[in-house]
Symmetry: C2
Subunit: 254 residues, 2 copies
């Protein structure tokens, strides 16, 4: 009993809630693709019109789905080594950053080709803030947790800040996506939006599913019992887990 609580399998509840988050994330991507494909003419890099559509699709894949999944890595991979889990966390974030960068380039290129001004709307201000913080957070995370230079004491002092800002950036990314949905609707279907046309309803539901994805990911991350317990070998190996063991109090330590 004591042993199984020090190194548990994934709690059953966690498995179901993680599955729900993944379904919601895939529904977000599918609904965005359906919106673009059905109502906005599809996607194409070499069309000055359809180039825009690369933007929302890349942003929900990178800044929402993959960013959210990177946060879940420590809850899902509970019995892998801490180092493998960290590397996976960092790699998913890199992939998310690259896809988001493609989405950003698409919208700036589209504006340039169309002669539209950049960076005037609240959506763009929030978006560039989220992307900028995300990039900086990745650099700090890499330097302090993966680059072999930072001391254990710096790591444990920085960790709560990294976790807080990670959650903040994820939430800001979802809020920015909602702003982007509303902005696109008011640019494209302003006159018919109030008639409850299918495109407006689809996009509104997409917004609610985005919120549900964020809420489920947030629930998984904040539920105390679902935090990753330190493995026995980690406790033996490193002072780095001092703060974790203070909360988890695994019996193997005493």
């Amino acid at each position: 009993m004591e042993d199984s609580s020090a190194r548990p399998a994934s709690p059953t509840g966690l498995t179901y809630v993680v599955a729900t988050s993944q379904i919601l994330g895939l529904v977000v991507i599918t609904m965005m693709a359906a919106w673009i494909g059905q109502y906005r003419g599809g996607i194409a890099w070499d069309s000055s019109q359809l180039l825009f559509n690369v933007h929302p699709l890349c942003m929900v894949i990178g800044m929402v789905f993959l960013q959210g999944d990177a946060l879940l890595v420590y809850r899902v991979f509970r019995n892998e080594s801490k180092r493998s889990t960290k590397i996976l966390h960092g790699l998913i974030h890199v992939l998310a950053l690259i896809i988001a960068l493609v989405g950003l380039i698409a919208v700036f290129q589209y504006h340039k080709k169309q002669g539209f001004p950049d960076m005037y709307s609240l959506h763009s201000w929030c978006g560039i803030t989220a992307f900028g913080f995300y990039f900086i957070q990745w650099l700090f995370g890499f330097y302090i947790f993966l680059f072999p230079g930072a001391s254990f004491s710096l790591r444990s002092r920085y960790k709560p800040q990294h976790v807080f800002f990670g959650a903040f950036i994820f939430i800001l990314s979802i809020a920015t996506a909602l702003l982007g949905i509303l902005e696109l609707l008011l640019f494209k279907i302003k006159d018919t939006y109030s008639l409850f046309v299918p495109e407006g309803i689809l996009a509104n539901i997409l917004g609610l599913v985005l919120i549900a994805f964020g809420a489920v990911v947030g629930y998984i991350l904040t539920r105390h019992e679902w935090q990753r317990p330190p493995l026995a070998e980690e406790l033996a190996l490193s002072m780095d887990f001092k703060t974790l063991t203070e909360e988890g109090s695994p019996t193997s330590l005493h």
Copy 2:
């Protein structure tokens, strides 16, 4: 030393960060009033045009500033009795709900007078979700924590859910405010927004200050060392604090 950690004065850092949150909250309300007064003709209940402006002002006061402050009550009043703090928490939320309801009535009345349709935009869908959840959360909170019917075991099982949904509703309220700002700008100054006119810049900055308010409140709530420690008399009085003491481990218990 041991005694002061069981019943500490407010940590210095906490005081400064709470002060920052209050300044940001007041800046939000001031900027919203300035936007309405300077660019949107001011506020009046009996004008079919200016009635609208009651809506954004009431919503940021109720659903953002007061809701946020109600969440901070347990961090700020550290040495009052748990019951007084609970009552204050409940009362600020009631005040917030009433002010938000006035803001909701204003916008529905405005739509009715102007012949505008209701509830078609993503802003309205998110807003009604946030307000509905907020009302339900208040009812559950009142019934389980204040109404003298619920058992200690029900209270301690419900508490983490109450805290999670409280944070979720607060974040959703801020996201809804951002959507409302963008919607109003695209309705009123769509043609000049991209020219970086002062109204657009003011409203965008208001959006960023709203995000900063939410971030600072979120930081205060999630910082582990700033959680309200149970008072000695509370520990002696009630099983209700079992979960708290497991984390706080005050020396007076042993």
